[in-house]
Assembly symmetry: C2
Homo-oligomer: 359 residues x 2
């Protein structure tokens, strides 16, 4: 730590992203990335002339991308904010609307980064316990006086609440901001974006990192009222006006317009998920019903940490959360058919031959 | 403004980037971009497999790029911070080390964004007047008790101070942070990067947007002590861990390694600048001696605002700063030989035929 680092940060916990070991090639099923390439239109969009044109600044207003997203989600470009991944979008949302001491709530089991934000911004945060079955108790959020931050579907559980439930939370108190992070929405549930036309306290965040297969391009967006988006843009212009590269803008436009390819990839993931769930149940796993590109599972006899370690030795990365409430669960991203066949076979071997490694 | 926007921001001035009109094609000499394309190695680096690999997250530690930059500047990767343009790098520097009420100083005439940062972070800032000849009075900064933020060479004047002068500022008080923004350093002066090995209070910021012809790729970096860089990375990990896209990392690595191409482009710009300066002097301009890819000029008889407007009508954008101390100056970016020939001819016509438009 340098002499200059602000005292405020001295006890700060740093967010630790999923591991990305470099010492060998892995089948990477630990960060909910897509195993499918981006839309072929992205490859076309990042042409030689696009690359050579990078000597000029990108559009700080990112209008082409905001228009393209707006057109797909039936909102105006002025209702769309874009950033370097949903993390940056949430970061700007926090910076615009939250300051130390403000009260916010989110589930005790959700995307870890919410706690990081809450700590960074000095928020008074409540982590509301999930129900026994790892689902969200909607009433907790309807009744809370705090601002609300929910991933829907939730990560790492894969469980979702309905748009009607979200509307109940949003409608209860118009002076409370409700942020819904729909990173995984395309894998099986309805988006709550249409609600932004009727409520002035809802911010919906999505990403290109999952269903659009573009985690490495860093593209995320928020849809809300014109006023909220204008505020976020103001803050962006005081921190980093040219936040998106011209390549990211071009990739985003090409990708968001290709809804056919999105549907095709999502259909494959859902198909592979259902197949994989079937196999896992057959091997003695309990599988939480998920509407995401990952599933959270636990085995009746073999410990999650053991399966995690064995899979890693065999070249497959999945996510294990040691020490907490889901210590005996694994979160496994759904990849290609071939990847899931390999993983199925490996897990089968592990639970068969290591059945003695009881819990 | 939404109900939720923090009161703190209500009087905030938004930074306004140089105009980027879309209604027609311009010769763009108003934002100090390069008219040359990026290194051909960048085109090679952003291959189809690189683009298709974007379904996976980029490296949040950006180690490949930090190593490549470190290797060129003879520092370790742990002394390099990378971000989406120098603006984001400065933003993270501010967020890490500055809080409301802290005292900072910078010239009254410099990169406008410093004032924006100072306002956003609620700093107590002093804008120290330049000398009559628009140069920096080094003693002002040696003697100030405030943290120091200097662009060297300075923008929009194009004037520089020496590494020895910077060392005097840095050495005077080790408890004061000195940030030197070397965006334009490659066009004619020595970098102060070697000083980071001897002082623990110096942060040097550079960009790929100027001499590396990659403004649209959004790549900037800071070089400092390991401790300072570690602090900035901690803050990055609480705001947006995966800040750089895999394309930006690949473009940056390819570009920074190609020092031959950098030298070639810089030599062309310096050549074109000297030619252009000669022509302008011949036409009755005073030209401030610059070591940058732009020059600041004023005409003895024709007003800057008039020349600015006439050039715009004729399809050339240059920068005019209405209302202030350099109201009668124009900042003109140095482009290709062909662009400078066109601009020279246009300016010649304007000052010849409109010589009656006296000041």
């Amino acid at each position: 730590m340098s002499y200059f680092f602000l005292d405020d940060y001295k006890d700060m916990e740093v967010y630790i992203p999923g591991e990305q070991p470099k010492e060998r090639e892995y089948i990477k099923l630990n960060a909910n990335e897509s195993s499918f390439p981006p839309s072929p239109k992205v490859l076309e969009a990042i042409s030689a002339s696009q690359i050579n044109g990078m000597s000029y600044y990108s559009d700080p207003h990112c209008m082409e991308l905001r228009k393209a997203i707006g057109s797909v989600y039936h909102v105006s470009a002025e209702q769309v904010f874009v950033g370097n991944g949903a993390d940056e979008v949430l970061g700007f949302c926090m910076k615009s609307f939250f300051k130390p001491g403000m009260k916010v709530c989110f589930p005790d089991l959700t995307y870890d980064f919410y706690r990081t934000y809450a700590q960074t911004y000095g928020l008074d945060y409540e982590q509301i316990p999930l129900k026994e079955d790892l689902s969200i108790n909607v009433e907790d959020y309807v009744e809370s006086e705090r601002d609300v931050l929910l991933a829907n579907p939730n990560n790492p559980t894969g469980k979702a609440i309905s748009v009607d439930d979200i509307e109940r939370i949003v409608a209860k108190n118009p002076k409370r901001m409700v942020i819904i992070d729909e990173a995984y929405v395309d894998y099986g549930i309805e988006s709550c974006i249409p609600l932004v036309e009727r409520y002035s306290n809802l911010v919906v965040v999505q990403t290109f990192s999952k269903s659009r297969n573009l985690a490495g391009a860093r593209i995320g967006f928020a849809i809300s009222t014109r006023d909220i988006i204008e505020d976020m843009n103001k803050i962006k212009f005081t921190f980093n006006p040219f936040n998106m590269s011209s390549m990211a803008i071009a990739a985003g436009v090409a990708s968001v317009k290709d809804t056919e390819y999105l549907k095709e990839c999502v259909a494959k993931i859902i198909h592979n998920r259902m197949e994989f769930e079937g196999h896992l149940k057959h091997m003695g796993f309990e599988v939480i019903e998920a509407c995401t590109n990952f599933i959270l599972v636990t085995h009746q006899k073999v410990s999650a940490s053991y399966i995690y370690e064995e899979l890693k030795k065999k070249g497959v990365l999945v996510r294990h959360y040691p020490g907490g409430k889901i210590d005996n669960y694994l979160r496994i991203t759904i990849g290609t058919e071939q990847e899931m066949d390999t993983v199925t076979q490996l897990i089968d071997d592990i639970v068969k031959f290591d059945g003695h490694r009881m819990l």
